[in-house]
């Protein structure tokens, strides 16, 4: 067995040249491609991670937006409910006020109608009573009735305040008319009663008015003193009708 040293050296050189060639044409290009591919993969992963982060951020934003919308919806519903309750309360208040007004108006109308009815009834009753009394009195002795009020007239004239009586006494000088329902038979008694109450100075006339029914009226130029039954019946009728102004 022998070794050819030339061959050994050539083979060693050949192998080293092969190492250089493969490094130049195989390992370095493959390493570059692998590195490039790895960089692309890392870039893709980084982009995916960025996209994921972006998606997470978008998700968080949408979640926050959804929560905000839910809160807003809740607030709007709450406000709408509050507004509805306020409107309802206002409508109820208005309805109650309207109902109260209608009820008050109805009560007032009823009261007014009742009052009118009552007044009408009183008026009719008073009128009826006056008519009945007038009917009864018309059948009685009018002359007697006229004379019957002489004492009453005298008492009333004497009871007048002095100032008022002085005014009547002054008016008497211009004349007074004694009006009765039937002609006065005893004018002297009337003249004496007036002279006794107001004084002798004055002119006294007599006149008749059947509407007086009974009694008499002293008609001065500017005032009239009524002592007739018609006036009494009129006052009684007004009292029956509830007229407070009657005295």
């Amino acid at each position: 067995m022998q070794i050819d040293w030339w061959t050994l050296a050539l083979q060693a050189i050949n192998f080293l040249v092969l190492v250089w060639l493969l490094k130049r044409f195989l390992y370095r290009p493959v390493k570059d491609v692998i590195a490039k591919r790895r960089a692309l993969a890392e870039d893709a992963l980084a982009k995916a991670a960025a996209k994921e982060a972006e998606a997470d951020a978008e998700k968080d934003r949408l979640t926050a937006e959804r929560d905000a919308l839910a809160r807003e919806r809740h607030e709007v519903l709450k406000a709408a409910q509050k507004q509805t309750e306020a409107d309802r309360a206002e409508i109820l208040d208005k309805a109650r006020a309207e109902a109260s007004r209608i009820v008050a108006a109805a009560e007032a109308a009823i009261d007014r109608e009742r009052q009118e009815t009552l007044s009408g009834m009183k008026r009719e009753i008073g009128q009826l009573a006056a008519n009945l009394a007038a009917g009864i009195l018309a059948q009685s002795d009018a002359a007697a009735l006229a004379n019957a009020c002489l004492d009453h007239m005298k008492t009333q004239l004497e009871a007048l305040p002095a100032e008022e009586r002085d005014q009547m006494r002054a008016a008497l000088t211009k004349g007074v008319t004694v009006v009765t329902a039937v002609p006065v038979a005893d004018t002297g008694a009337w003249t004496a009663m007036i002279a006794a109450a107001l004084g002798p100075d004055g002119r006294i006339d007599f006149d008749t008015d059947p509407s007086l029914i009974g009694g008499a009226e002293l008609r001065f130029p500017h005032t009239t003193l009524k002592f007739s039954w018609a006036d009494h019946l009129d006052q009684a009728g007004r009292i029956l009708q509830g007229d407070d102004a009657v005295s």
Binding site: M1, Q2, I3, D4, W6, T7, L8, A9, L10, Q11, A12, N14, F15, L16, V17, L18, V19, W20, L21, L22, K23, F25, L26, Y27, P29, V30, K31, D32, V33, I34, K36, R37, L40
Partner: protein, 222 residues
């Protein structure tokens, strides 16, 4: 039968340098590997084509194997270790081509490869650890073992050479004997077995070289 089958088969001379058949075969293998590499990577893109994909798969497989053994970045060691494997595989498999004799079946080629492994292991070790730390490994675990450690450096290189040479040479001899005795068809199973042996021997040679370099760069005993 007076021709020595182990004698160099000189084809021609370049000046004083005799050119052996194994050298010419080696040049052809170098040309083939370089051409394939150039074709596969001349327009290397991220989206690999057929040949580029094959080359990438081969390189990545080698890278993974070296990384698993060395447990460090394999790229500084890949050119020499990867080239070892590819060259030995192609050289061993060249036996299946009629008329070709594998260069590894001649002593000079495995010897050259073993010497390169021997020198590169020391070179990587010195570069990785520095001269002092690198030389300290020869006196570990005990300075008494220094002669044995030095002797082991040579014996393991020698065994690396002889293992490859012996296997390939013996396979050639067996194949020649079977052809001589049994004719043309019977050697076919032996040739298929030769393919397996060629790949296994290339793997063993490369892995052992990787282990030697790994031991050198890490400062550990083999």
């Amino acid at each position: 039968m007076d021709i020595n089958p182990l004698a160099p088969d000189i084809l021609f001379h370049i000046g004083p340098v005799p050119i052996d058949r194994a050298v010419v075969t080696t040049w052809a293998i170098m040309a083939l590997l370089t051409l394939l590499s150039w074709l596969g990577t001349r327009r290397a893109t991220v989206h690999a084509g057929g040949l580029q994909a094959v080359l990438e798969i081969a390189v990545e497989a080698l890278e993974t194997q070296i990384r698993d053994v060395l447990r460090r970045d394999p790229w500084p060691y890949l050119p020499i270790l990867g080239s070892l494997f590819l060259f030995i595989v192609v050289a061993n498999l060249s036996a299946v081509i009629p008329g070709l004799k594998p260069p590894t079946a001649h002593l000079e080629t495995p010897a050259a490869l073993a010497i390169i492994v021997f020198l590169s292991a020391h070179a990587f070790g010195l570069r990785s650890l520095g001269p002092v730390n690198y030389l300290k490994r020869y006196v570990k675990p005990n300075p008494i073992l220094l002669p044995l450690n030095i002797l082991a450096e040579f014996t393991r290189t020698f065994s690396l050479m002889i293992r490859l040479f012996g296997n390939m040479m013996s396979h050639e001899f067996v194949l020649a004997i079977v052809v001589f005795l049994a004719g043309l068809l019977l050697p076919v199973p032996f040739m298929l077995l030769g393919i397996l042996i060629g790949v296994i021997q290339a793997y063993i040679f490369t892995i052992l070289a990787t282990v030697f370099i790994g031991a050198a760069v890490s400062g550990e005993a083999d």
